[in-house]
Amino acid sequence: MKRRIVTATVLNQSGVLNRVTGLFTKRHFNIESITVGHTETEGISKMTFVVNVEDDRQIEQLLKQLNKQIDVLKVSDITNQAIVARELALIKVLATGQTRAEISGIVEPFRALIIDMSRDTLTVQVTGDAEKIEAIIELLRPYGIKELARTGITAFTRGFQKSVTDLKHYTLLK
C-alpha cells in the first residue's frame, strides 16, 4: 500500500463532497482522510485526500475518475512534489496535579497549545505534518488519552519547486 496525497479543485456545488466520496466507495478506493474548504476564489473549494493505493495504476485510475466528475476542475497527485502539508489535532489527555507540568513540558517543544483545562484533563491543540502529530500522540498516550480528533491533512505545493526529474502527476502520456 502506498500513501498518496491528492488535491482537487472543485466547484462548490451542493453534493460535491458526496459525489467524490461516493466515487471512492464505488471504485473501492481506501481513503485515509479528506479535508474540504473554501479557496481564494468564491464558489471554488479545495479538497485534500490522503489515500492508500496498491500501485500506480490504481492512483492513475483514481485521478482520472476524479477528473471525470463535472464539478471537479483540477486534480493533482502532489505526493512527490515539494508541498506544505498540515493537520490539526485536538487531544484531551488525563492530567492530575502531578502530571500537569510534565504534559506542559511535552507540549512546549512541539509548539502545541493547551486550549482547555478541567480538574482532571488538559486539551492540547497541535498543528503540523502527520509525523509530528503521531509523535506527540505517542508521547501523551502514557498519560491516558480521553479523546482525540484529527482534521486530516490539507496541503498544497510550495511556491518554489525544485526541478523535479521524476514528476508523476496526472498525465495521459505515460
Binding site: 451542493s14 458526496n18 495504476r57 482520472k64 475518475q65 477528473n67 463535472i70 495521459l172 502520456l173
Partner: protein, 569 residues
C-alpha cells in the same frame, strides 16, 4: 467561454413547467417517454397546453428502456419524464443500463416541494443521492432561474464526450411557480472539456506500431458507433490491411460480410476472433472498454501484444489492460488522422491466412434438430427473411448471444442490446423506442420468455401507437443462460431456472390487440415469419425452441480467450 448577454435578453415570465417545455423545444426534442404523477402534475399540465410528442409507457422502466432504444438507433439523447419517489426509483435500472452502455439520456424527475424535502414527505426519495453513482451527472433545480441553463448543460453533458445519462430533479414548487427566466445563456462547464482531437504524435506512434506489426488486430467497440466512425474504421482497416474484431456492442460498426471481419470476440465470440486477440502482436482498441466478458482472464489476455487504445474517456485507458499507446480522443477524428498517415500498410498476409484457417476450421456451429426448433436456426431464418437489414433488439441471455452470433450486421445503428448491465426486460421496450426513431424500418425484438415477462405490459403501445414491431420470443421455458451455467458449473442442479408455468403468450398479445402466433417447428416458423415480417402490423411470435440448447463456443469463467470450450460439435 464567456456568457454574452444579448442586447435583448430572452426574458419571459414563465412557470418552471413552461420553462422546461420551452427548453426542451429549444433542444429540438421530438419525443418524451414518460409517466405522470403528483410531483410532475405542473409539467404535464404545461405539456397539455404546449405539446411535445409524449409516449405514455405503462411502467417507468418501459419508458426509460424505450428512450434507450431511441437513443441507440438515432444517436440523439432519449428524454424521460417521471414523477418523484416510485416514479424515479423505477427508472434506476434503465439509468444504470444507459450509464454502462454509454447511451445519451436526459431524465427529468419530479420532486416534492422544496419546503418538505428531507421530511420523508409523500412520494419523496433522495433521487439525486440514489442516482449519483449511476449518472454521468445530475442536478436538483433549486431556483427556477437556473432551469434553462441546467437543461442546456444536461443535454450538452449527455451527448458530448462519452455519452451517458444525466438526471434533472425538479421540485414541484419550482415547476409550479413563475419567474422571469432567461434562455439566452450559453453552456459554461469548465469541469467538462472532453478531448476530441487526438494527439498527433500518438497517432504517429500508433502508425509506426502498425508498420512494424506482423500480427495486428483492431478491436472495435461501440465507441465507433457513438462517433459515427464506421466509414473511417473501414478505410483504416482496408488501407492498412488489419483484421477487425467487434465487441458485442460494437456489432454493425464494421460490415460482417467484409473479408477482414473476424466476428465478435469475448465469452461467446467466435474462435477466430478470440484467437486473433490472443495471438496478436498489436492490438488496436477503438472505443471498447476491455470489459471482462470480452477479455476473459486478464492474465492471459493478449500476452504478446503492444496495446493501443483510442477512447474519448481517458479513464478507460489503462483501467483493465496495460496500454502502451494511449490515445484520448473521438474515434472518428483519430481514425481520420490515422488514415492520413501514409505508407503504413502492414504486410501481414501470413497472419490473415492463418486467421482465415481458424475461421474455416472453427465457425459457429449448432445441432441440427428435427422435431423442435433450433434457436440458432431460427435467428438465421430471421436474418435471411429480413435481408439482414432489420433493427434487432434483444434482452439478455442465450437468445441475445445467438442473435449476436447469427444475425450478422453490415450496417451500424441496427443492433440494440443491453451489454454492460445485462438487463432482462430491456429488449422489448427498446424496440418501441427504436421503431419511434426509425418509423420506416423493420424492427424485430428477439427476446427470451423470461425477460419478456419483465416488461410485457408495454405491448399496449404497439396497438396504441400502431408500431409494426415484431416480437420473436425464443421460448425455451427456462432462464436459458442460468440453466446453461447450472448445467456446466453447478452439476446440473437447475435451481429455479425452469419455469413450471408460463402464460399463454398468444392470448396475452391478443388481449393487448396484438396478433399472437405460436410455432413449434422450423417450417412453421419460416412460413409464418416470411409473412409476418413483411407486413405492417405488430405481431408476437411465440417460438417454442429446444430447451436443452446451449450457447457455444464459450470462454468459461476464469479462463483465457485461447481456452474456449465447445468450439466444435
Amino acid at each position: 467561454m464567456k456568457v454574452k448577454v444579448k442586447a435583448e435578453p430572452e426574458e419571459q415570465r414563465l412557470t418552471g413547467a413552461e420553462t422546461l417545455i420551452h427548453a426542451l423545444k429549444q433542444e429540438k426534442v421530438e419525443v418524451v417517454f414518460g409517466y405522470p404523477g403528483g410531483a410532475v402534475l405542473p409539467i404535464y399540465d404545461a405539456l397539455y397546453r404546449n405539446p411535445i410528442r409524449h409516449v405514455l409507457a405503462r411502467h417507468e422502466q418501459g419508458a426509460i428502456h424505450a428512450a434507450e432504444g431511441y437513443a441507440r438507433v438515432s444517436g440523439k439523447p432519449g428524454v424521460v419524464l417521471a414523477t418523484s419517489g416510485p416514479g424515479a426509483t423505477n427508472l434506476v435500472t434503465g439509468i444504470t443500463d444507459a450509464m454502462m452502455d454509454s447511451l445519451p439520456l436526459v431524465i427529468f424527475t419530479g420532486q416534492v416541494a422544496s419546503g418538505v424535502i428531507g421530511t420523508d414527505a409523500f412520494q419523496e426519495a433522495d433521487v439525486t443521492g440514489i442516482t449519483m453513482p449511476i449518472t454521468k451527472h445530475n442536478y436538483q433545480v433549486r431556483d427556477l432561474k437556473d432551469l434553462p441553463r441546467i437543461v442546456k448543460e444536461a443535454f450538452h453533458i449527455a451527448s458530448n464526450g462519452r455519452p451517458g445519462p444525466v438526471l434533472v430533479d425538479i421540485p414541484k414548487d419550482v415547476s409550479a411557480t413563475a419567474a422571469e427566466v432567461n434562455f439566452g445563456g450559453k453552456v459554461h462547464l469548465p469541469g467538462f472539456q472532453p478531448t476530441k482531437n487526438p494527439n498527433v504524435l500518438q497517432i504517429k506512434k500508433l502508425n509506426e506500431a502498425i508498420e512494424s506489426a506482423k500480427k495486428p488486430v483492431i478491436l472495435a467497440g461501440a465507441g465507433i458507433l457513438h462517433a459515427k466512425a464506421s466509414e473511417q474504421l473501414r478505410a483504416v482497416a482496408e488501407s492498412k490491411n488489419i483484421p477487425v474484431v467487434h465487441t458485442l456492442l460494437g456489432l454493425g460498426g464494421f460490415p460482417a460480410d467484409h473479408p477482414l471481419f473476424l466476428g465478435m470476440g469475448g465469452m461467446h465470440g467466435c474462435y477466430a476472433a478470440n484467437m486473433a486477440l490472443y495471438e496478436c502482436d498489436l492490438l488496436v482498441n477503438i472505443g471498447a472498454r476491455f470489459d471482462d466478458r470480452l477479455t476473459g482472464n486478464l492474465k492471459t489476455f493478449a500476452p504478446e501484444a503492444v496495446v493501443a487504445h483510442i477512447d474519448v474517456d481517458p479513464a478507460e485507458i489503462g483501467k483493465n489492460v496495460e496500454t502502451h499507446i494511449p490515445i484520448v480522443g473521438d474515434a472518428k477524428a483519430a481514425l481520420q488522422k490515422l488514415a492520413d498517415e501514409q505508407g503504413s500498410s502492414s504486410m501481414c498476409e501470413e497472419w490473415l491466412v492463418h486467421l482465415r484457417q481458424y475461421q474455416q476450421e472453427y465457425p459457429y456451429w449448432h445441432k441440427e434438430l428435427e422435431d423442435v426448433i433450433s434457436p440458432q436456426k431460427l435467428i438465421s431464418e430471421i436474418h435471411s427473411l429480413t435481408g439482414g437489414d432489420a433493427i434487432v433488439t434483444t434482452d439478455v441471455g442465450q437468445h441475445q448471444m445467438w442473435a449476436a452470433q447469427y444475425y450478422t450486421f453490415n450496417d451500424p445503428h441496427k443492433w440494440v442490446t443491453s451489454g454492460g448491465l445485462g438487463t432482462m426486460g430491456f429488449g422489448f421496450p427498446a424496440a418501441i423506442g427504436a421503431q419511434i426513431a426509425e418509423p420506416d424500418k423493420r424492427v424485430v425484438s428477439i427476446v427470451g420468455d423470461g425477460g419478456f415477462q419483465m416488461t410485457s405490459e408495454e405491448l399496449i403501445l404497439l396497438r396504441e401507437l400502431d408500431l409494426p414491431v415484431k416480437i420473436v420470443i425464443v421460448n425455451n421455458g427456462t432462464l436459458g443462460m442460468v440453466r446453461q451455467w447450472q448445467e456446466s458449473f453447478y452439476e446440473q442442479r437447475y435451481s429455479h431456472s425452469v419455469f413450471n408455468l408460463q402464460p399463454d403468450f398468444v392470448k396475452l398479445a391478443d388481449s393487448y390487440g396484438v396478433r399472437g402466433f405460436k410455432v413449434s417447428t422450423i417450417e412453421e416458423a419460416k412460413a409464418l415469419l416470411s409473412e409476418v415480417l413483411n407486413d405492417d402490423e405488430p405481431a408476437l411470435i411465440d417460438c417454442r425452441v429446444c430447451a436443452a440448447e446451449n450457447v457455444y463456443p464459450m470462454v468459461a469463467p476464469g479462463t483465457g480467450l485461447h481456452e474456449m470450450i465447445g468450439v466444435k460439435p
